[in-house]
């Protein structure tokens, strides 16, 4: 009798647990299929020589090769440059545009639309257009600069200017981020500004002590997503590089990614190239793990910094 009494709740608990598991199963299946399995596979392949068709155990060969591969450090430096310069430039510019829109007395809708529109342009089309517009010989950009007496640089053709040119392209397309900041800015209670003004705070002090703390979760979100986006930066760099170089793949001649002088070679491009052009999937898996680890490190650092900033505020 006593065992029956205890068995019933235990069965019920197990049944509830299984039911919960069943309800969770879509998420668990998604997590397993789209994250755990690919990650485990990547780790597995990183210890193999894998040319997409044949698999052979290679021990630590792929990891050793990582240390000898000059292009990986070049691409990592370029990617780091984008994280350090392009992401802050995008965030600051988007925030400035959002601030501007909130302060406009007239034509708010028009300016909001104008600032947002570039983000609707397909990435490839926007990049190709930028390269053509900034062509040092035939593009109107330098011709306009020449009218002002400035000799424009070889934007996408000069290693020193290639990444800043990509940053300009990224800033041009910050419409989505601007809309997010706009929503965050409009959400800040007006009373806080009124109270700050009564206390004698000027516009800069109000921005520093009211706006920034109030929108810090949005800032954190934009910084983290921006960093992850920069770490995965691929399409624009690849297209700009290819269009600016004018190179095509023809028999006996293949395009070297990263033109000019490797300045636009990002880590994801190097990874893609190792896997899908060089057929070295094992080594590409090592690069993918490196990219994953880097993303995790950056995300943790940013989370910690923002938490600290929130605590100080």
């Amino acid at each position: 009798m006593a065992s029956h009494v205890h068995a019933a709740p235990s069965r019920r608990r197990r049944s509830e647990g299984l039911r919960a598991l069943a309800w969770l199963s879509p998420w668990l299946a998604g997590f397993a299929i789209f994250f755990a399995y690919p990650l485990a596979s990547t780790v597995y392949f990183s210890f193999h020589r894998y040319d997409l068709f044949t698999l052979e155990f290679a021990g630590l060969d792929n990891y050793r090769y990582l240390l000898r591969d000059e292009r990986v450090w070049l691409s990592a430096r370029n990617t780091l440059w984008l994280v350090v310069f392009m992401v802050p430039a995008q965030v600051v510019f988007a925030l400035a545009l959002a601030q501007l829109v909130t302060r406009l007395k007239a034509g708010v809708g028009l300016f909001r639309t104008v600032f947002y529109l570039p983000s609707l342009v397909p990435m490839v089309a926007g990049t190709v257009a930028f390269v053509f517009l900034m062509n040092p010989a035939t593009g109107p950009w330098n011709q306009l600069l020449a009218l002002a007496g400035v000799s424009g640089p070889d934007w996408f053709g000069d290693p020193a200017w290639a990444k800043p040119s990509l940053t300009l392209l990224a800033m041009w397309g910050v419409g989505n981020l601007m809309v997010i900041f706009l929503a965050a800015l409009l959400d800040v209670p007006k009373q806080l500004y009124e109270a700050a003004a009564l206390d004698g705070a000027g516009p800069w002090r109000q921005f520093r002590s009211v706006t920034l703390p109030m929108i810090s979760p949005v800032l954190m979100f934009s910084a983290i997503t921006g960093v992850i986006y920069a770490l995965q930066y691929f399409t624009q760099a690849m297209i700009a590089s290819r269009v600016a170089s004018g190179a095509t793949d023809s028999p006996g001649s293949s395009f070297v990614p990263g033109y000019p002088d490797g300045a636009l070679l990002t880590l994801p491009q190097h990874l893609f190239h190792a896997g899908f052009r060089d057929w070295s999937m094992g080594y590409a898996s090592v690069l993918a793990l490196l990219l994953f680890a880097t993303s995790m490190v950056f995300t943790l650092i940013l989370l910690r910094q923002f938490r600290r900033a929130e605590e100080l505020a």
Binding site: R19, A29, A58, D61, P136, A137, P251, W279, S280
Partner: protein, 443 residues
């Protein structure tokens, strides 16, 4: 509880399906020898993937296929245009390979052959008694790897010198590198600031078709040793080429040359500098003849073999060649039918002549090159001669073909801008990069 069981059962069956999928062996080419010929094959629909994309190219290819379907009326061919190598590889991996696939480059031939992604054609070539000596040795070499003939050459590209007769000031095209240098200096026009207005010849490795593969044959340079390791650092021919090239770059001034190069029009458009008289001599493929006919009708130009090293006159007349390759991927549903199509497209003289006349590429068999219906003038004949020259070379098949070209090209950019102090050490470093990668790929 029932839903849990259902979920578990579903997952288990999915797993089973996933594990068994793809285990069924696809039919293999030549495994069951069948007599070749129109009557012996049952009806089938073949899927053919190719890279041709413009309307004119696609029509020309369809015309060539029509010749096949006239011979084999029971076989229908469905062609898919604009396909890249990546798509072919992915399709083979996923078990959805087409019956026949063609590629514009030879860069992946080694990988396709080694991995078995494309089927070895040797058994059916022997079975049908095809004499491969109808193809020049160089074409045979870029379509096979390690004894496996997994592709056949469809059409070829040959590279030579184009010169603008109006800009040549009565000079004959150069035959040696010294003559090329001398003529370049004579024909180059600069403005008062020293900026280049017309270039005699652009020596930059970054200029359109001036890749090391295309320029290497001018000095008889070798890419690989017998064991597949890099010969770039040890073959003095490369040093000879680079030294000549750098002297000419320095004569222009790297900055001036780069400024000129970056302001030039699109290689594939009407604004090409050769069409516009901005460059007197260029290295280019035979296809430029067709482009000039379409885009620069009045251009008074001629063609010649590339100039060669002064101490290697025997190389004159040769050049670089490579081309479109075609084969039967692993997993093809109708491999024997597919082979008949490949055989027709690559060895049938009428088919090759039709394709060559329409696309203005070099036909690959000797019979097609000598066929009276092959449209050729003196400018096109130059490339037929280069293609059949015994010393004409190609970029040998390598499992790291793309990587090796990139490794060398990256170094060449540093070299021509003057960032390399020690050429020997630089070339050795290129060797090391290529050999390290070879080791990583399993030798």
């Amino acid at each position: 509880m029932r839903c849990v069981r259902l979920a578990v059962a579903g997952l288990a069956s999915l797993t089973l399906v996933a594990c068994t999928a793809g285990k069924q062996a696809p039919p293999s080419l030549g495994a069951q020898p069948k007599p070749s010929g129109s009557a012996s094959l049952p009806p089938a629909t073949l899927e053919l993937w190719h890279g041709f994309s413009t309307d004119a190219e696609v029509k020309a290819f369809q015309d060539a296929i029509a010749g096949f379907t006239r011979k084999f009326p029971q076989i229908k061919v469905v062609a898919k245009k604009g396909v890249q190598d990546d798509q072919i590889t992915q399709a083979i991996r996923s078990g959805k390979a087409p019956d026949v696939a063609a590629s514009f480059t030879t860069d992946n031939v080694a990988q396709w052959c080694r991995s078995g992604a494309f089927q070895d054609l040797t058994p059916v070539i022997e079975q049908d008694g095809i004499d491969l000596s109808v193809l020049p040795a160089v074409s045979r070499s870029y379509t096979e790897f390690e004894g496996k003939r997994c592709t056949m050459p469809l059409l070829a590209d040959a590279y030579g010198l184009y010169y603008n007769k109006d800009l040549m000031q009565g000079h004959e095209p150069p035959k040696t590198l010294s003559e090329l240098t001398e003529l370049t200096k004579k024909l180059t026009v600069r403005d008062a600031d020293g900026d280049i207005k017309v270039a005699g010849f652009i020596p930059s490795f970054q200029y359109y078709e001036n890749s090391p593969s295309h320029l290497g044959p001018m000095v008889g340079a070798k890419w690989y040793n017998e064991d597949g390791t890099s010969a770039i650092g040890s073959d003095p021919a490369w040093k000879q080429l680079l030294t000549w090239q750098k002297e000419l770059v320095d004569w222009y001034g790297y900055a001036k040359l780069e400024k000129f190069r970056k302001g030039l029009g699109d290689e594939w458009g009407a604004e090409h500098p050769f069409h516009k008289g901005k460059v007197a001599m260029i290295l280019d493929g035979e296809w430029r003849n067709a482009m000039i006919a379409n885009m620069a009708k009045g251009l008074n130009y001629g063609t010649a073999p590339l100039p060669v090293a002064d101490d290697k006159p025997e190389l004159y007349g040769s050049g670089f060649t490579a081309g479109t390759v075609i084969g039967v991927p692993r997993g093809a549903k109708h491999p024997q039918h597919a082979w008949e199509l490949v055989k027709h497209l690559t060895t049938d003289t009428d088919s090759l002549v039709t394709l060559s006349n329409a696309l203005r590429n070099v036909p690959t068999t000797k019979a097609a090159m000598e066929h009276p219906k092959l449209a050729k003038d003196a400018n096109f004949q130059t490339f037929l001669d280069i293609f059949s020259h015994p010393k004409t070379s190609t970029l040998p098949a390598s499992v790291n073909s793309v990587f090796n070209q990139e490794a060398f090209s990256t170094f060449l950019v540093e070299w021509e801008k003057g960032a390399v102090a020690d050429l020997d050490a630089g070339l050795k470093a290129v060797d090391k990069r290529i050999d390290d990668k070879l080791k990583l790929s399993g030798g």
